[in-house]
Point group: C2
Chain length 425, copies 2
């Protein structure tokens, strides 16, 4: 089970830390917040029980097994970040460079419209052997429809059947993408009305591509359900999402309005990207907000630690400690001098953990608030827990700040202006 | 030539913006700051004149041409971020996935010690056909020496000559890496004493790997020199680094202590990472500091824009607008309804620029301070300008804040603790 370590908050100067008491809550308090969340009628914590959806995904995956060398997601923001995170966390780190590593197709996520990207991507993928997953909840995202239009022309030009090369993921109600699906007889998976893009990793948005590249989605959902049950508990000792949100909220009130998420795990580098959207879009409104910063241990010790230790004390540092980092990799003793630079028998695993401990201890000595999320290992089960931990915490944060964590009114204006500019053109 | 557009700062409420006057400086003022910088005796703006170094790099590259399929950098922080940026900006975006794309070797940068990374990397590269570039200025960076030890054992086990598979980049004075180089007869390139890691992209640290993968380093230096000449000018209209630093500084004084760097270019995504270290480590000390945040257009419109528009008004948004995004990529009209979703003749290029304009206009309407750096295109010449623009601006920022931008005292404590922990082990 994932565990949270808040102990360093109590070890630093009171102005920057929190007492153990500040991290307590009664069942009545938690219950009131859960009631508010329940009133929002959001589906991110119930959608994980949808067995019929999993069945449909599995059936589709079986029906296309061995058919494609490549899977390409056309999607952006919440339609891309979940899949990016799942792939990075659960597959070989050089999956796409190693074409023949596994029988599973390679997954590519095209989450930009830069012509340089689209053009270079032409060299990489043979569209006759590719399945394009087009993901836009509203069915109107211009970037995604532009990409769809581009690749659908390619499929037509090659006289291939669109339904053999496209699958859509969109809301249930009628929209431009649904319309195309009907006319072209393209398979559609749906995103429930009450699950927003940034909360959609446990819907087909995340699960379909994951399944197609061989990720165990049942195990992912199992982990998520375990954390969901804790999210719904009124016992503070069980409710890890509540604990996490409370620490973030109390420290934000003390001026720690930047949250750094720094996993010590190469596999979790994109988890931090996924969370960046979740926190930024959910809580950043009405002048309120916490600015998420993503970092990676040990790498960013050599790029960000200076600022975290001696810059403005305006951050909460959230570390993810992965207990089992994978294969045991010994660091051999150096052949030539300097001999014994490292203690005999040291491993990369141990060095990684020791550097994390050194970093965290130094920050604590410098009165920098920090917490550690301990994860036994990065597999489907614990990643499911981790994703639900942060979604649940974000839901509580919204209630603490008294804001609606599920809309994004602040992006409308730029959309309207862009549309006007395009019409003028 | 790169140009800076500060006009939106004058269009927003005075509390959040700057007047044209606030961005002025007299030759005497600029001269005083240049004098202070000169007194620091730093080499980042003079090292670009070192023709002998370029000659040595070119000669080495000639001598190993065709010998390796892969180049691997063992380095972290400032020893890695420059090369990562150069590769992403100037090479094919899927270079490493396309083994046979070009005769140049593939470049990999191993900037972490996660055993999962080291282990998976084993599957990717055949060390008998690989050149490892070991980069650590002090010659003592534990992560890098651990990696070196690991790969040097592989080379020994295969009964290959170390000097055929390693090249070192380190300071001139004696240190553990120099010692190994002497004993193993390994080629060394030097990092000048007065150039710190985060300022070292124009030394062998950035230039050697760049040259080996076919980047035109003379053109890069040419662009850098053009910007350096402006950096040394006391005419504010010419001195773009001074202009940029002044805007950052004045806005930091108004509470905009987060700087978001958001290039609208997939090629520049790692440029923002490179700058993140430069700004964080140079300015983040003595309780002072600006927290850098990296973002990418248009992608992060769908993950961060909500926060930037409606969250706390505590940020300066810095956009990079690339005028020529590369090949013209038309968006074909949709075959099926919804017809005319996009105006006839629209290109990905135009859509990208229009979305940037929409984003910037909305932020301005929401009184969010923002500036735009216009770059004609992403090639060696303009990238050289861009790198020097930000290094020069950081040098001025240090003087404005009255701090030494070239040390990193705040990382020492964690290093000491880590060492102690390792010794106990």
């Amino acid at each position: 089970m994932i565990s949270l370590d808040f102990s360093n908050l109590t070890k630093i100067k009171a102005a920057h830390g929190l007492t153990t008491k500040a991290l307590q809550a009664t069942p009545a308090q938690i219950g009131r917040h859960l009631k508010k969340i329940s009133n929002r009628k959001q589906g991110f914590y119930t959608v994980i029980d949808d067995a019929a959806k999993v069945k449909k995904i599995n059936a589709f995956a079986d029906s296309v097994a061995g058919k494609y060398t490549d899977i390409v997601i056309l999607g952006i923001g919440g339609s891309a970040l979940g899949a990016i995170c799942l792939k990075q966390s659960l597959k070989h780190l050089f999956e796409n460079e190693l074409k023949d590593l596994s029988p599973a197709p390679r997954l590519h996520i095209l989450d930009n419209i830069d012509p340089a990207l689209i053009s270079d991507f032409e060299d990489l993928v043979d569209s006759t052997k590719t399945l394009f997953i087009v993901i836009t909840k509203s069915g109107t995202t211009p970037e995604t429809l532009a990409q769809y239009s581009y690749y659908s022309h390619k499929i037509y030009q090659k006289k291939l059947y669109p339904r053999d090369h496209f699958v859509f993921i969109t809301e249930l109600k009628n929209n431009p993408l649904r319309q195309i699906a009907r006319e072209e007889n393209i398979t559609c998976f749906s995103i429930p009305e009450n699950v927003g893009g940034r909360f959609s990793v446990m819907t087909a948005v995340g699960l379909l591509p994951a399944k197609l590249i061989g990720i165990d989605i049942e195990k992912l959902l199992l982990g998520a359900r375990e954390m969901r049950d804790r999210f719904l508990s009124t016992d503070i000792t069980l409710n890890l999402p509540y604990q996490l949100a409370l620490a973030q909220y109390q420290l934000a009130k003390k001026g720690k309005k930047i949250n750094v998420l720094m996993p010590y795990s190469q596999k979790l580098i994109r988890f931090a990207d996924w969370y960046r959207q979740l926190l930024a879009e959910s809580i950043g409104k009405q002048g309120i907000g916490i600015t998420p910063v993503n970092a990676l241990g040990v790498t960013d010790q050599h790029s960000q630690s200076q600022l975290y230790n001696e810059g403005p004390n305006d951050k909460l540092l959230m570390f993810i400690n992965v207990e089992n980092l994978g294969p045991c990799m010994p660091i051999p003793t150096m052949i030539k001098k300097p001999a014994n630079f490292f203690p005999e028998g040291l491993t990369f695993n141990r060095l990684m953990h020791t550097e994390m401990e050194g970093t965290i201890t130094a920050l604590t000595k410098n009165n920098r608030p920090n917490i550690t999320i301990n994860v036994p290992e990065v597999d489907e089960f614990f990643l499911g827990q981790l994703l639900m931990l942060f979604m649940g915490a974000t839901a509580f944060l919204g209630e603490f700040f008294k804001i609606n964590a599920y809309n994004q009114p602040g992006v409308e204006l730029s959309k309207v202006i862009t549309k006007e500019l395009l019409q003028k053109y």
